[in-house]
Amino acid sequence: MTDATLTAPRPGIITRMRLKMPFLVVLSSGWIIAMVLVAIFADLLRPYEITQMNLSARLVPMGTPGHLLGTDELGRDMLSRLIQSIRVSLVIAFGATILSALFGTTLGFLAAQFRGWVEHVVMALADFQAALPFMIMSLAVLAFFGSSMVLLVCLMGFYGWERYARIARGLAISASAQGYAAAVVQLGAKPSRVYLRHILPNVASTLIVSMTLTFPEIILMESGLSFLGLGVQPPQTSLGNLVGFGREYLTRAPWIMLAPSVVIVLTTLSISLLGDWLRDRLDPTIR
């Protein structure tokens, strides 16, 4: 910065971000970016293969040279397994959250637009989904079709769609009755414009909050399924998987469970904080 003395330097992007975002939001977005980077570069970051065993170093505690987060009962490096788990869990959680938001919102908007029998069918499906324990449905599907990553993401994508459908339908109907959507229809706009340009931005804040609620639930749901042996299959691993299997060694080797639990808590917390902040930012009326 040699010319700093001549002209007032334009503050760097970091400074500008810091001024606009609260400290916690900076932390949480930093954490999420770190997690995403870890997921993308998992292959490069991993010190060992996730299946590589070292029977002479079983259940070594955290901080052991060479095994920063310790090892499990087969002497597999926990850091490598954690990195791989983050990749798998993030793919499932992000993929499924986005899928269920898209699916639910689309159905909700369709119900609001066409009313009549379309609405009845969508709402009946939503009630059906809400009444059926999701775990049982997933167990049935996975038991029949076998577990694969694609199937798992698609299946999880059905988790919570009924919430988005109800929210989207209710908000879209009230928008049409309230005026602004009716006013745009009255201007001659096609339904696609009314829904994408007007109703969606107006209901996005509610949907984003709903997404931040679904995200941790999907991570937990996936852990539950993995724990039952129908989710991610060993030797592949996910955060829920690690916690599930670490349970057996809770008293003798708590570090197996500790690291993935901390990652789950921090990631879901960051998503919630970020979602909350994003909702406020997206609403011009409370800026």
Partner: protein, 326 residues
Amino acid sequence: MTAPLLQARGLVQEYATARSFFGKTSTVRAVDGIDLTVRQGEILGIVGESGSGKSTLGRMLLGLETPAGGEVLYQGAPMPAPRTDAWRKLRAQMQLIFQDPLAALDRRMTIAAQIAEPLEIHGIAKGAEAAERLAALMARVGLRRDQADRYPHELSGGQRQRVVIARALATNPGFLVCDEPVSALDVSIQAQVVNLLRDLQEQEGLTMVFISHDLKVVRNICDRVAVMYLGRVVEEAPSDLLFADPRHPYTRALVSSIPKPGQGLHGRIILQGEPPNPAARPAGCAFHPRCAFADRGCAARVPELQHDGRRQIACLKPDAAAATAA
């Protein structure tokens, strides 16, 4: 006499009311057989109590609702069904101005984007041309240039209504329906908006239907006035004639209700009985339970709208009413 821009013939609109648990649905006739002609370049006022079907009539004239009976002709052609392509295209020629401007505007769009939206929807102007038209529109309704990037909640009620008016004028429509455009505004702002509408009408030769329950505003702005009672037009006349010499007993009560300074309640006709309920329409003349001149005949026969000089009136005993007025 100028050519009719819009004609309504025998318009009827019915709504199903919420049914009780075991009961059957009952239908409410919000509009019950209305014939109306709107001539090119005039402002037609529609007045009546709430529940008299004014707004429903306005929405049907615009083709926003399909009438249960009768038809609307715009420039001689029947109104296309709502939400079809032909209907969407016709929106560029006819626009609605809403009662509550805050509800009619999208909270998340700047007013510039909203005013320019009709241009975009109908593919009228793009880029620099659209920006130019936007600036012209804003100037026409009296919005400052620096307000373009504001959001609706940052404006005052009068400014919001100007935004709604600017948006309605964006496509240069020939026909405007103003549905109680000033009743949500302060009295001081009302005058500004009414003057704005009148100026626009004079400059552009706009044709307007002005729906209101505020007789002062209607007298101020309208060329011709139709008075509605329970879904029917009871009297229609040029504005000056109607306010100077109302004939129908209901119109007379309405006109006498306009406050005059220093007169108190003297000379007012206070209507007795229940306010109108479209779900329980009285037999015969709908107004007869509240009418001072009604007799048994009024309860039996429905009066038709009949020409009487420059006015039309639907009353079985207009002479009795006129006699006491004199």
